[in-house]
């Protein structure tokens, strides 16, 4: 299990990838949710860490706004997605000052041919390369995977932790409403959403994976900074 530490004493995010850890995530929700009128706590985790936690919940390259919503669901702290633009720059600056100093960086998804950053879609630098490159089918595949992951989490939380479930309803709704049967009478039907997403994934996942692995092998040839932040679209002719 990986832990991100904030400040000196408080451990905030577990690696949320497996279902077993959701109870810890729920603790951080109750920690961060503004249940009283107290001002923002000094120990609140920085936005980058919240977004990384959101990404782990989604488990696939996702749109900025969705990552921000996932971060909010997971930590109870609001993330304004406009702050992400400046965050992108500061991640690069931080890398340039001390490469690889942090365990994970917020990094853009990368286009499978020229490895240009796909600005609106985020990943974590610690993910393996095939997960970070995006071929023609990948954004759809990743949406379906995120829908599956969040629906699964919601289904678990509804049984085990109503507070966590509340925090995830909205995110789950926004993802599941676009798969057949994902939302019934305004409420997410996790089982149906997972079924529908998986049915579509079965058709395209294999082809997508092959394309991603092929691209990742090429990406591996580039230097580490380009592997993380991509190739500047202006530095080379269109691929």
């Amino acid at each position: 299990m990986q832990w991100a530490t904030v400040g000196q004493e408080y451990v905030v995010f577990p690696d949320c990838r497996s279902m077993q850890n959701t109870d810890v995530c729920a603790r951080s929700v109750s920690y961060g949710r503004p249940m009283t009128d107290q001002p923002r706590q000094r120990r609140d985790p920085p936005i980058r860490e919240r977004l990384l936690a959101g990404l782990e919940v989604l488990g696939a390259a996702s749109e900025v706004r969705t990552v921000a919503e996932a971060a909010e669901a997971c930590t109870g702290l609001y993330v304004n997605n406009r702050q992400v633009a400046s965050l992108r720059r500061s991640e690069r600056t931080s890398w340039d000052a001390r490469p690889s100093a942090r365990p994970a960086y917020l990094a853009p998804a990368l286009h499978h041919r020229g490895f240009e950053p796909i600005r609106g879609y985020l990943t974590s630098s610690e993910w393996d390369l095939p997960r970070r490159v995006v071929g023609p089918l990948s954004l759809r595949v990743d949406y379906l995977r995120a829908t599956t992951n969040v629906s699964r989490r919601l289904a678990w939380a509804r049984k085990q932790s109503p507070e966590t479930a509340n925090a995830f309803e909205r995110l789950a709704w926004r993802l599941a409403r676009s798969v057949p049967g994902g939302v019934r009478n305004g409420s997410v039907d996790p089982a149906a959403a997972i079924r529908a997403a998986q049915a579509e994934l079965d058709l395209i996942e294999e082809e997508d994976q092959a394309q991603r692995e092929e691209a990742a092998a090429k990406l591996e040839q580039l230097d580490r900074r380009e592997q993380v932040f991509g190739v500047d679209p202006q530095s080379r002719k269109a691929a």
């Binding site: 706004r65 609106g120 676009s178 679209p233």
Partner: protein, 379 residues
């Protein structure tokens, strides 16, 4: 005049601010096909709003901020999570979309001031071209959805790259253009004016795709002339679809363009050395220079210009000064056929001027109206 047309347009611009033309710019053509200045300025990519500002006639080109915000929100929602909402909507309507292959040029080559916009637009144009041709050839694993494409548009000799709002999508045998708009569809009906304006914009994209296909020896039938609009239903932001056939619009647009002087001919009307280089000029001199350029190329004011051209207020003021009946609208202009100015029309009505042959019919009508007004004690 020496040099290519692009060079001459560049000379005319002489460093003045630029703005990229879009489908709205081109669709405005049908509002007033007779305005040579607008075509030349758009072809040269000159920022008309900035010109209007220098002339002291700040216009209100573009949409209101609130309309843009609402539109932005709706569009973001429909496009969220790799177009999940849009894909769902299309599938429910029976469009066949098994494997969705997305090319998101807006994310790949952002035009937001962070990089060289021309380079980004050129890359988008190249990718759009390849993607559309692959779609048309039904190449396996080609993209079937292109967002933020850039299409080339021939302004009549001057080629411009248009950043499109629309999405090109291939379903089975045809490429379709999809537009996301924020005006509502209430009980199955939408504001006719807004649907009309969107239809014209869609027609520009469709015509540009037809040109691309034709230039590559393919049938223009590969792109459907039925435009798909995604709109909010009723008052909420729940998306719904409306299909509009824009074949008529595409034809009209082509006819308008074909019937006009080429940009080359229009630019040739400019006296040598007359350009928009305003460096070192004071306010008055700058105004005079811009006015001289507009006069040399020629303007043609109509009230509909107010909706689509930043220079409209300036042109209206000039038309009023010149007593040009056009500033009162197409109908008045038509009713005063043969009479050059409103001043002359007034004199013909009072009978204080003798009508020329071409004015006789109109003069009779005017005199009749004047008699009635006198009888009623209104003049």
């Amino acid at each position: 005049m020496a040099g290519s047309l692009d060079q001459r347009l560049e000379n005319l611009r002489a460093g003045f601010d630029t703005v990229r033309p879009n489908a709205r710019t081109i669709a405005a053509l049908r509002d007033n096909p007779g305005c040579a200045s607008r075509r030349v300025l758009d072809a040269a990519g000159i920022d008309k709003a900035k010109l209007a500002e220098r002339l002291g006639h700040e216009g209100q080109e573009g949409q209101s901020r609130f309309a843009l915000q609402r539109g932005d929100r709706f569009e973001k929602d429909v496009k969220a999570n790799a177009f999940a909402v849009a894909i769902d909507l299309l599938r429910r309507d029976g469009f066949d979309l098994d494997a969705v292959r997305l090319l998101l040029l807006r994310d790949l080559y952002p035009i937001d001031g962070t990089g060289d916009q021309d380079v980004m637009l050129a890359k988008r144009a190249e990718e759009t071209r390849t993607a559309i041709l692959d779609m048309a050839r039904a190449k396996p694993d080609s993209y079937n959805l292109v967002d933020g494409g850039a299409l080339e548009w021939d302004f009549g000799g001057a080629i411009a790259r248009l950043e499109t709002d629309g999405i090109a999508w291939r379903f089975k045998d045809q490429i379709r253009v999809v537009e996301i708009k924020s005006f509502p569809l209430v009980d199955g009906r939408a504001d006719a004016g807004k649907v009309g304006a969107t239809a014209w914009q869609g027609a520009v994209y469709i015509a540009a795709i037809q040109d691309l296909l034709e230039a590559n020896g393919m049938s223009t039938d590969l792109v459907s002339t039925e435009l798909i609009l995604m709109l909010p239903r009723n008052t909420a932001l729940v998306p719904t679809m409306l299909k509009v056939d824009v074949l008529r619009h595409v034809r009209t647009l082509r006819r308008l363009l074909a019937g006009q002087d080429s940009i080359d001919e229009l630019v040739a009307k400019l006296p040598a050395g007359l350009d928009l280089d305003l460096d070192g000029l004071d306010e008055e001199q700058a105004k005079d220079r811009i006015a001289a350029v507009l006069k040399a190329i020629g303007t043609s004011y109509a009230p509909s210009c107010l909706e689509s051209c930043a220079l409209a207020r300036y042109c209206r003021a000039r038309a009023r000064e010149a007593h040009d009946p056009r500033h009162l609208g197409v109908e008045v202009r038509g009713a005063l056929a043969g009479v050059p100015t409103t001043e002359r029309a007034a004199r013909l009505a009072e009978g204080s001027a003798r009508p020329r042959t071409e004015e006789k019919d109109t003069a009779k009508l005017l005199a009749g109206v004047h008699r009635v007004l006198v009888q009623e004690g209104l003049v």
